[in-house]
Amino acid sequence: MIDKRAASAAEVVADIPDGSSIMVGGFGEAGSPVELIHALIDQGASNLTIISNNTGSGEVGLAALLKERRVTKVICSFPKTLNSTVFPELYREGFTELELVPQGTLAERIRAGGAGVPAFFTPTAVGTPLAEGKESREFHGREYVLEHGLTADYALIKGATADTHGNVLYNKTARNFAPIMATAADVTIVQAARVLEPGAIDPETIVTPGIFVDRVLEVADPVHESRLVAEGASYP
Protein backbone atom coordinates (compact mmCIF):
# COMPACT_ATOMS: atom_id res chain seq x y z
CA MET A 1 0.00 0.00 0.00
CA ILE A 2 1.21 3.43 -0.86
CA ASP A 3 0.75 6.10 1.79
CA LYS A 4 3.02 9.13 1.62
CA ARG A 5 1.50 10.90 4.61
CA ALA A 6 3.83 12.03 7.35
CA ALA A 7 2.74 12.39 10.95
CA SER A 8 4.32 15.74 11.77
CA ALA A 9 6.09 18.75 10.33
CA ALA A 10 9.18 17.80 12.36
CA GLU A 11 9.26 14.32 10.83
CA VAL A 12 8.81 15.49 7.30
CA VAL A 13 11.95 17.68 7.28
CA ALA A 14 14.00 15.68 9.78
CA ASP A 15 16.58 14.32 7.33
CA ILE A 16 17.50 17.54 5.51
CA PRO A 17 21.26 17.91 5.99
CA ASP A 18 23.40 21.02 6.21
CA GLY A 19 24.44 22.24 2.78
CA SER A 20 21.27 21.09 1.02
CA SER A 21 19.78 22.85 -1.98
CA ILE A 22 16.09 23.43 -1.45
CA MET A 23 13.46 24.68 -3.87
CA VAL A 24 10.73 26.62 -2.08
CA GLY A 25 7.42 27.23 -3.85
CA GLY A 26 5.57 30.50 -3.78
CA PHE A 27 5.30 33.84 -5.53
CA GLY A 28 5.13 36.43 -2.82
CA GLU A 29 3.08 34.82 -0.10
CA ALA A 30 0.88 32.86 -2.51
CA GLY A 31 1.99 29.27 -2.28
CA SER A 32 4.70 29.84 0.30
CA PRO A 33 4.89 26.70 2.50
CA VAL A 34 5.27 28.64 5.73
CA GLU A 35 4.67 25.70 8.09
CA LEU A 36 7.30 23.57 6.32
CA ILE A 37 9.78 26.45 6.41
CA HIS A 38 9.16 26.96 10.12
CA ALA A 39 9.73 23.24 10.68
CA LEU A 40 13.03 23.60 8.83
CA ILE A 41 13.97 26.50 11.10
CA ASP A 42 13.27 24.31 14.14
CA GLN A 43 15.21 21.44 12.59
CA GLY A 44 18.40 23.47 12.36
CA ALA A 45 19.95 22.72 8.94
CA SER A 46 22.30 25.46 7.78
CA ASN A 47 24.51 26.48 4.84
CA LEU A 48 21.47 26.04 2.62
CA THR A 49 20.97 27.10 -0.99
CA ILE A 50 17.42 28.31 -1.52
CA ILE A 51 15.83 28.39 -4.98
CA SER A 52 12.71 30.55 -4.87
CA ASN A 53 11.22 33.46 -6.77
CA ASN A 54 11.41 35.87 -3.79
CA THR A 55 13.15 36.01 -0.43
CA GLY A 56 10.15 36.41 1.86
CA SER A 57 8.82 39.36 3.80
CA GLY A 58 8.78 40.45 7.43
CA GLU A 59 10.39 37.99 9.82
CA VAL A 60 8.34 34.86 9.17
CA GLY A 61 8.58 32.06 6.63
CA LEU A 62 11.44 32.30 4.16
CA ALA A 63 12.63 35.65 5.58
CA ALA A 64 12.85 34.08 9.05
CA LEU A 65 14.97 31.20 7.71
CA LEU A 66 17.30 33.77 6.17
CA LYS A 67 17.35 35.86 9.35
CA GLU A 68 18.54 32.80 11.28
CA ARG A 69 21.61 32.88 9.00
CA ARG A 70 20.89 29.47 7.59
CA VAL A 71 20.95 30.39 3.91
CA THR A 72 24.28 31.10 2.23
CA LYS A 73 22.96 31.35 -1.33
CA VAL A 74 19.70 32.21 -3.03
CA ILE A 75 18.81 31.59 -6.66
CA CYS A 76 16.03 34.02 -7.31
CA SER A 77 14.41 36.44 -9.79
CA PHE A 78 13.13 39.13 -7.44
CA PRO A 79 14.82 39.19 -4.01
CA LYS A 80 13.31 42.45 -2.84
CA THR A 81 9.66 43.05 -2.17
CA LEU A 82 7.56 45.21 0.06
CA ASN A 83 8.46 44.46 3.70
CA SER A 84 11.56 42.60 2.60
CA THR A 85 14.46 43.75 4.75
CA VAL A 86 16.18 40.56 5.85
CA PHE A 87 17.72 39.52 2.56
CA PRO A 88 19.05 42.99 1.65
CA GLU A 89 20.98 43.12 4.91
CA LEU A 90 22.50 39.66 4.53
CA TYR A 91 23.35 40.37 0.89
CA ARG A 92 25.09 43.68 1.65
CA GLU A 93 26.92 42.05 4.53
CA GLY A 94 28.14 39.37 2.12
CA PHE A 95 26.69 36.49 4.12
CA THR A 96 24.17 35.38 1.50
CA GLU A 97 25.19 35.09 -2.13
CA LEU A 98 22.68 35.88 -4.90
CA GLU A 99 22.32 34.23 -8.30
CA LEU A 100 19.87 36.47 -10.12
CA VAL A 101 17.87 34.71 -12.85
CA PRO A 102 15.10 36.15 -15.03
CA GLN A 103 11.81 34.75 -13.81
CA GLY A 104 10.96 32.84 -16.98
CA THR A 105 14.47 31.46 -17.24
CA LEU A 106 14.25 30.36 -13.61
CA ALA A 107 10.97 28.57 -14.36
CA GLU A 108 12.34 26.96 -17.53
CA ARG A 109 15.58 25.90 -15.83
CA ILE A 110 13.57 24.17 -13.10
CA ARG A 111 11.26 22.57 -15.64
CA ALA A 112 14.30 21.38 -17.65
CA GLY A 113 15.94 20.01 -14.52
CA GLY A 114 12.85 17.95 -13.79
CA ALA A 115 12.49 16.79 -17.39
CA GLY A 116 16.05 15.49 -17.86
CA VAL A 117 17.09 18.34 -20.15
CA PRO A 118 20.57 19.52 -19.09
CA ALA A 119 20.58 22.73 -21.13
CA PHE A 120 18.50 24.79 -23.57
CA PHE A 121 18.69 27.99 -25.54
CA THR A 122 16.51 30.99 -24.68
CA PRO A 123 16.13 34.52 -26.09
CA THR A 124 15.64 35.98 -22.62
CA ALA A 125 18.42 38.26 -21.33
CA VAL A 126 20.37 38.36 -24.59
CA GLY A 127 22.27 41.65 -24.71
CA THR A 128 21.92 42.23 -20.95
CA PRO A 129 24.30 41.80 -18.01
CA LEU A 130 22.54 38.54 -17.08
CA ALA A 131 23.79 36.93 -20.31
CA GLU A 132 27.38 38.06 -19.89
CA GLY A 133 29.87 35.21 -19.99
CA LYS A 134 27.25 32.77 -21.23
CA GLU A 135 27.44 30.84 -24.47
CA SER A 136 25.22 32.26 -27.18
CA ARG A 137 24.20 31.06 -30.60
CA GLU A 138 22.11 32.21 -33.52
CA PHE A 139 19.06 30.26 -34.65
CA HIS A 140 16.91 31.49 -37.54
CA GLY A 141 18.72 34.84 -37.51
CA ARG A 142 18.21 35.58 -33.82
CA GLU A 143 20.58 35.31 -30.89
CA TYR A 144 19.90 32.95 -27.97
CA VAL A 145 21.78 32.19 -24.78
CA LEU A 146 22.46 28.74 -23.32
CA GLU A 147 20.93 28.11 -19.90
CA HIS A 148 21.23 25.00 -17.73
CA GLY A 149 18.66 22.80 -16.04
CA LEU A 150 18.31 23.28 -12.32
CA THR A 151 17.69 20.54 -9.76
CA ALA A 152 17.69 20.46 -5.97
CA ASP A 153 17.98 18.02 -3.11
CA TYR A 154 14.58 18.96 -1.68
CA ALA A 155 11.46 20.89 -2.64
CA LEU A 156 9.08 22.36 -0.08
CA ILE A 157 5.71 23.19 -1.60
CA LYS A 158 2.20 24.10 -0.57
CA GLY A 159 -0.83 22.49 -2.13
CA ALA A 160 -4.52 22.86 -1.45
CA THR A 161 -5.66 19.24 -1.72
CA ALA A 162 -3.54 16.12 -1.95
CA ASP A 163 -4.07 12.38 -1.73
CA THR A 164 -2.01 9.66 -0.09
CA HIS A 165 -0.39 8.79 -3.45
CA GLY A 166 1.02 12.32 -3.57
CA ASN A 167 -1.29 13.75 -6.23
CA VAL A 168 -1.71 17.48 -5.63
CA LEU A 169 -4.13 20.29 -6.52
CA TYR A 170 -3.34 23.95 -5.87
CA ASN A 171 -5.34 27.08 -5.10
CA LYS A 172 -5.44 29.79 -7.78
CA THR A 173 -2.14 31.68 -8.20
CA ALA A 174 -0.60 29.75 -5.30
CA ARG A 175 0.22 27.15 -7.97
CA ASN A 176 3.10 29.17 -9.54
CA PHE A 177 6.44 27.34 -9.16
CA ALA A 178 5.23 24.35 -7.13
CA PRO A 179 4.40 21.90 -9.95
CA ILE A 180 7.77 22.34 -11.65
CA MET A 181 9.75 22.32 -8.40
CA ALA A 182 8.07 19.02 -7.50
CA THR A 183 9.61 17.52 -10.65
CA ALA A 184 13.12 18.88 -10.08
CA ALA A 185 13.93 17.84 -6.52
CA ASP A 186 15.22 14.48 -5.28
CA VAL A 187 12.77 14.65 -2.38
CA THR A 188 9.55 16.65 -2.70
CA ILE A 189 7.67 17.51 0.47
CA VAL A 190 4.13 18.85 0.20
CA GLN A 191 1.94 20.52 2.80
CA ALA A 192 -1.74 20.50 1.89
CA ALA A 193 -4.87 21.63 3.67
CA ARG A 194 -6.57 18.31 2.96
CA VAL A 195 -5.11 14.87 2.33
CA LEU A 196 -7.63 12.45 0.84
CA GLU A 197 -7.75 8.78 -0.10
CA PRO A 198 -6.71 7.79 -3.64
CA GLY A 199 -9.60 8.20 -6.05
CA ALA A 200 -11.08 11.21 -4.27
CA ILE A 201 -9.51 13.57 -6.82
CA ASP A 202 -10.71 13.50 -10.43
CA PRO A 203 -7.68 12.15 -12.39
CA GLU A 204 -8.37 14.67 -15.20
CA THR A 205 -7.71 17.59 -12.85
CA ILE A 206 -4.52 16.53 -11.08
CA VAL A 207 -1.80 19.15 -11.48
CA THR A 208 1.10 17.32 -9.82
CA PRO A 209 0.97 13.53 -10.31
CA GLY A 210 2.05 11.56 -7.26
CA ILE A 211 5.22 10.24 -8.90
CA PHE A 212 6.82 13.62 -8.18
CA VAL A 213 5.89 13.70 -4.50
CA ASP A 214 7.63 11.85 -1.68
CA ARG A 215 5.99 13.11 1.52
CA VAL A 216 2.65 14.74 2.24
CA LEU A 217 1.80 16.61 5.42
CA GLU A 218 -1.70 17.76 6.25
CA VAL A 219 -1.71 21.37 7.50
CA ALA A 220 -5.41 21.97 7.83
CA ASP A 221 -5.43 25.70 8.41
CA PRO A 222 -2.21 27.22 7.06
CA VAL A 223 -1.17 30.70 8.16
CA HIS A 224 -1.14 33.61 5.73
CA GLU A 225 2.26 35.27 5.62
CA SER A 226 0.81 38.75 5.01
CA ARG A 227 -1.35 38.50 8.13
CA LEU A 228 1.63 37.44 10.25
CA VAL A 229 3.68 40.31 8.83
CA ALA A 230 0.85 42.78 9.50
CA GLU A 231 0.76 41.55 13.08
CA GLY A 232 4.52 42.09 13.38
CA ALA A 233 5.10 38.40 14.05
CA SER A 234 8.53 36.85 13.94
CA TYR A 235 9.65 33.20 13.96
CA PRO A 236 10.76 31.43 16.02
Partner: protein, 226 residues
Protein backbone atom coordinates in the same frame (compact mmCIF):
# COMPACT_ATOMS: atom_id res chain seq x y z
CA UNK B 1 9.90 75.06 -19.08
CA UNK B 2 7.68 76.86 -16.60
CA UNK B 3 4.61 75.38 -18.26
CA UNK B 4 5.90 71.82 -17.93
CA UNK B 5 3.13 70.75 -15.60
CA UNK B 6 0.39 71.81 -17.98
CA UNK B 7 1.98 70.37 -21.10
CA UNK B 8 0.99 67.01 -22.47
CA UNK B 9 -1.14 64.20 -21.11
CA UNK B 10 -1.98 63.10 -17.60
CA UNK B 11 -1.28 59.47 -16.68
CA UNK B 12 -4.92 58.61 -17.20
CA UNK B 13 -4.88 60.24 -20.64
CA UNK B 14 -1.73 58.30 -21.51
CA UNK B 15 -3.45 55.08 -20.49
CA UNK B 16 -6.55 55.97 -22.51
CA UNK B 17 -4.43 56.84 -25.55
CA UNK B 18 -2.51 53.57 -25.33
CA UNK B 19 -5.66 51.51 -24.90
CA UNK B 20 -6.96 52.84 -28.23
CA UNK B 21 -4.07 51.08 -29.98
CA UNK B 22 -4.92 47.63 -28.61
CA UNK B 23 -7.02 45.44 -30.89
CA UNK B 24 -10.15 43.71 -29.69
CA UNK B 25 -9.46 40.25 -28.31
CA UNK B 26 -5.79 40.93 -27.56
CA UNK B 27 -3.89 39.02 -24.89
CA UNK B 28 -2.10 41.64 -22.84
CA UNK B 29 0.40 41.74 -19.97
CA UNK B 30 0.39 45.03 -18.08
CA UNK B 31 3.50 45.77 -16.05
CA UNK B 32 3.37 46.86 -12.42
CA UNK B 33 2.73 50.58 -11.89
CA UNK B 34 1.55 53.06 -14.53
CA UNK B 35 0.84 50.36 -17.16
CA UNK B 36 -1.87 48.91 -14.88
CA UNK B 37 -3.94 52.05 -15.56
CA UNK B 38 -4.60 50.83 -19.11
CA UNK B 39 -7.16 48.34 -17.83
CA UNK B 40 -9.38 51.25 -16.75
CA UNK B 41 -9.75 52.62 -20.28
CA UNK B 42 -10.73 49.71 -22.48
CA UNK B 43 -12.47 51.23 -25.52
CA UNK B 44 -16.17 50.53 -25.92
CA UNK B 45 -16.87 47.25 -27.68
CA UNK B 46 -13.44 45.72 -27.13
CA UNK B 47 -12.34 42.95 -24.79
CA UNK B 48 -8.76 42.48 -23.67
CA UNK B 49 -7.65 39.36 -21.84
CA UNK B 50 -5.05 40.04 -19.18
CA UNK B 51 -2.19 37.70 -18.42
CA UNK B 52 -0.32 37.88 -15.15
CA UNK B 53 2.93 35.95 -15.22
CA UNK B 54 2.33 34.34 -11.85
CA UNK B 55 -0.15 31.99 -13.45
CA UNK B 56 -3.47 33.50 -14.51
CA UNK B 57 -4.98 34.34 -17.88
CA UNK B 58 -8.24 36.27 -17.64
CA UNK B 59 -7.27 38.44 -14.68
CA UNK B 60 -10.04 40.76 -13.50
CA UNK B 61 -10.02 43.94 -11.45
CA UNK B 62 -9.14 44.27 -7.78
CA UNK B 63 -11.75 42.84 -5.42
CA UNK B 64 -13.75 44.89 -2.93
CA UNK B 65 -11.71 46.00 0.06
CA UNK B 66 -11.35 43.06 2.42
CA UNK B 67 -12.64 40.52 -0.11
CA UNK B 68 -9.22 39.58 -1.43
CA UNK B 69 -7.77 36.06 -1.46
CA UNK B 70 -4.07 36.00 -0.50
CA UNK B 71 -3.68 33.22 -3.04
CA UNK B 72 -5.19 35.20 -5.94
CA UNK B 73 -2.69 37.94 -6.68
CA UNK B 74 -1.02 39.61 -9.64
CA UNK B 75 2.67 40.00 -10.46
CA UNK B 76 2.75 43.06 -8.23
CA UNK B 77 1.50 40.85 -5.38
CA UNK B 78 -1.80 42.71 -5.18
CA UNK B 79 -5.18 41.03 -4.77
CA UNK B 80 -7.03 40.56 -8.05
CA UNK B 81 -9.99 38.56 -9.36
CA UNK B 82 -10.49 36.06 -12.16
CA UNK B 83 -12.96 36.73 -14.98
CA UNK B 84 -15.26 34.17 -16.58
CA UNK B 85 -13.14 32.14 -18.98
CA UNK B 86 -9.99 32.48 -16.87
CA UNK B 87 -7.39 29.73 -16.51
CA UNK B 88 -4.71 29.02 -13.89
CA UNK B 89 -1.38 27.42 -14.80
CA UNK B 90 2.13 27.01 -13.43
CA UNK B 91 5.13 29.24 -14.00
CA UNK B 92 6.77 27.24 -16.78
CA UNK B 93 3.53 27.25 -18.73
CA UNK B 94 3.05 30.94 -18.00
CA UNK B 95 6.45 31.85 -19.40
CA UNK B 96 5.95 29.49 -22.32
CA UNK B 97 3.10 31.84 -23.24
CA UNK B 98 5.49 34.79 -22.92
CA UNK B 99 8.62 33.36 -24.50
CA UNK B 100 6.70 31.50 -27.17
CA UNK B 101 5.21 34.68 -28.59
CA UNK B 102 1.62 33.95 -27.65
CA UNK B 103 0.91 37.26 -25.94
CA UNK B 104 0.01 40.14 -28.24
CA UNK B 105 1.24 42.99 -26.09
CA UNK B 106 3.43 43.79 -23.12
CA UNK B 107 3.15 47.27 -21.59
CA UNK B 108 6.09 48.18 -19.39
CA UNK B 109 7.53 51.14 -17.52
CA UNK B 110 11.02 52.38 -18.33
CA UNK B 111 14.05 54.05 -16.84
CA UNK B 112 15.53 54.56 -20.30
CA UNK B 113 14.63 53.71 -23.90
CA UNK B 114 17.23 54.06 -26.65
CA UNK B 115 16.68 55.20 -30.23
CA UNK B 116 17.29 51.60 -31.32
CA UNK B 117 14.63 50.25 -28.97
CA UNK B 118 16.88 49.10 -26.14
CA UNK B 119 15.05 49.12 -22.81
CA UNK B 120 16.47 49.63 -19.33
CA UNK B 121 13.89 49.23 -16.59
CA UNK B 122 15.23 46.94 -13.87
CA UNK B 123 18.36 48.42 -12.34
CA UNK B 124 20.25 51.68 -12.04
CA UNK B 125 23.41 49.67 -11.71
CA UNK B 126 24.11 51.35 -8.36
CA UNK B 127 26.64 49.23 -6.45
CA UNK B 128 24.57 49.06 -3.26
CA UNK B 129 21.28 48.23 -4.99
CA UNK B 130 19.68 44.82 -4.53
CA UNK B 131 19.41 43.43 -8.05
CA UNK B 132 15.92 42.21 -8.92
CA UNK B 133 14.73 41.52 -12.44
CA UNK B 134 11.48 39.54 -12.21
CA UNK B 135 9.86 38.73 -15.55
CA UNK B 136 10.73 41.89 -17.50
CA UNK B 137 13.53 40.32 -19.55
CA UNK B 138 11.25 37.46 -20.54
CA UNK B 139 8.42 39.76 -21.52
CA UNK B 140 10.51 41.96 -23.82
CA UNK B 141 12.20 38.93 -25.38
CA UNK B 142 9.00 37.04 -26.07
CA UNK B 143 5.89 39.14 -26.46
CA UNK B 144 4.87 40.16 -30.01
CA UNK B 145 4.66 43.91 -29.31
CA UNK B 146 6.28 45.88 -26.52
CA UNK B 147 4.89 49.28 -25.57
CA UNK B 148 6.62 51.47 -23.03
CA UNK B 149 4.49 53.80 -20.92
CA UNK B 150 6.49 56.39 -19.03
CA UNK B 151 6.97 60.02 -18.09
CA UNK B 152 9.08 61.58 -20.82
CA UNK B 153 11.71 62.77 -18.35
CA UNK B 154 12.90 61.73 -14.91
CA UNK B 155 11.84 63.59 -11.80
CA UNK B 156 15.07 65.58 -12.07
CA UNK B 157 14.33 66.52 -15.69
CA UNK B 158 16.72 64.15 -17.44
CA UNK B 159 15.50 62.60 -20.68
CA UNK B 160 14.47 58.95 -20.54
CA UNK B 161 14.52 58.63 -24.34
CA UNK B 162 18.20 58.55 -25.20
CA UNK B 163 20.72 57.66 -27.90
CA UNK B 164 22.05 54.76 -25.85
CA UNK B 165 21.01 53.50 -22.43
CA UNK B 166 23.47 54.02 -19.61
CA UNK B 167 21.62 51.74 -17.22
CA UNK B 168 21.87 47.93 -17.50
CA UNK B 169 19.62 46.67 -20.28
CA UNK B 170 16.41 44.67 -19.93
CA UNK B 171 16.52 43.86 -23.63
CA UNK B 172 18.18 44.97 -26.83
CA UNK B 173 16.08 46.44 -29.67
CA UNK B 174 12.82 45.32 -28.09
CA UNK B 175 10.64 48.45 -27.75
CA UNK B 176 8.12 49.08 -30.52
CA UNK B 177 6.44 52.23 -29.29
CA UNK B 178 6.67 54.72 -26.41
CA UNK B 179 3.68 56.42 -24.80
CA UNK B 180 4.92 59.35 -22.73
CA UNK B 181 3.15 62.35 -21.24
CA UNK B 182 4.47 64.41 -24.15
CA UNK B 183 4.08 62.19 -27.18
CA UNK B 184 3.53 58.83 -28.75
CA UNK B 185 6.70 57.77 -30.59
CA UNK B 186 7.55 54.76 -32.71
CA UNK B 187 10.98 53.20 -32.59
CA UNK B 188 11.90 53.05 -36.28
CA UNK B 189 15.08 52.08 -38.14
CA UNK B 190 15.80 55.83 -38.29
CA UNK B 191 15.21 56.38 -34.57
CA UNK B 192 12.29 57.85 -32.63
CA UNK B 193 9.46 59.06 -34.90
CA UNK B 194 6.47 61.02 -33.63
CA UNK B 195 3.11 59.32 -33.99
CA UNK B 196 1.22 61.94 -32.03
CA UNK B 197 2.10 64.97 -29.91
CA UNK B 198 0.41 65.62 -26.60
CA UNK B 199 -1.75 68.69 -26.01
CA UNK B 200 0.35 71.86 -26.09
CA UNK B 201 3.49 70.00 -27.16
CA UNK B 202 5.33 71.05 -30.30
CA UNK B 203 8.24 69.31 -31.97
CA UNK B 204 10.96 71.71 -30.71
CA UNK B 205 9.72 71.26 -27.13
CA UNK B 206 9.65 67.51 -27.54
CA UNK B 207 13.13 67.48 -29.07
CA UNK B 208 14.45 69.63 -26.23
CA UNK B 209 13.32 67.03 -23.71
CA UNK B 210 14.48 64.03 -25.67
CA UNK B 211 18.03 62.68 -25.57
CA UNK B 212 18.05 61.54 -29.19
CA UNK B 213 16.85 62.98 -32.50
CA UNK B 214 13.08 62.96 -32.96
CA UNK B 215 11.67 62.54 -36.45
CA UNK B 216 8.45 64.38 -37.29
CA UNK B 217 5.37 62.64 -38.59
CA UNK B 218 2.36 63.71 -40.55
CA UNK B 219 -0.03 63.32 -37.71
CA UNK B 220 -2.89 65.31 -36.30
CA UNK B 221 -1.92 67.47 -33.36
CA UNK B 222 -3.85 67.09 -30.17
CA UNK B 223 -4.82 64.87 -27.33
CA UNK B 224 -7.67 62.55 -26.84
CA UNK B 225 -11.11 63.76 -26.04
CA UNK B 226 -12.12 63.02 -22.52
Amino acid sequence: MSQATTLGWTREQMARRLAQDIADGSYVNLGIGIPELVARFVPEGRTFIYHTENGLLGMGPSPEEGAGDPELINAGKRHVTANAGAAYFHHADSFAMIRGGHLDLSVLGAMQVSATGDLANWSTGAPDAIPAVGGAMDLVAGVKQVFVMTQHCTKTGDPKLVEACTYPLTGRGVVDRVYSDLAVLDVTPGGFRVVELGPGVDLPTLQERTGAPVLPAEVHHGGTSS
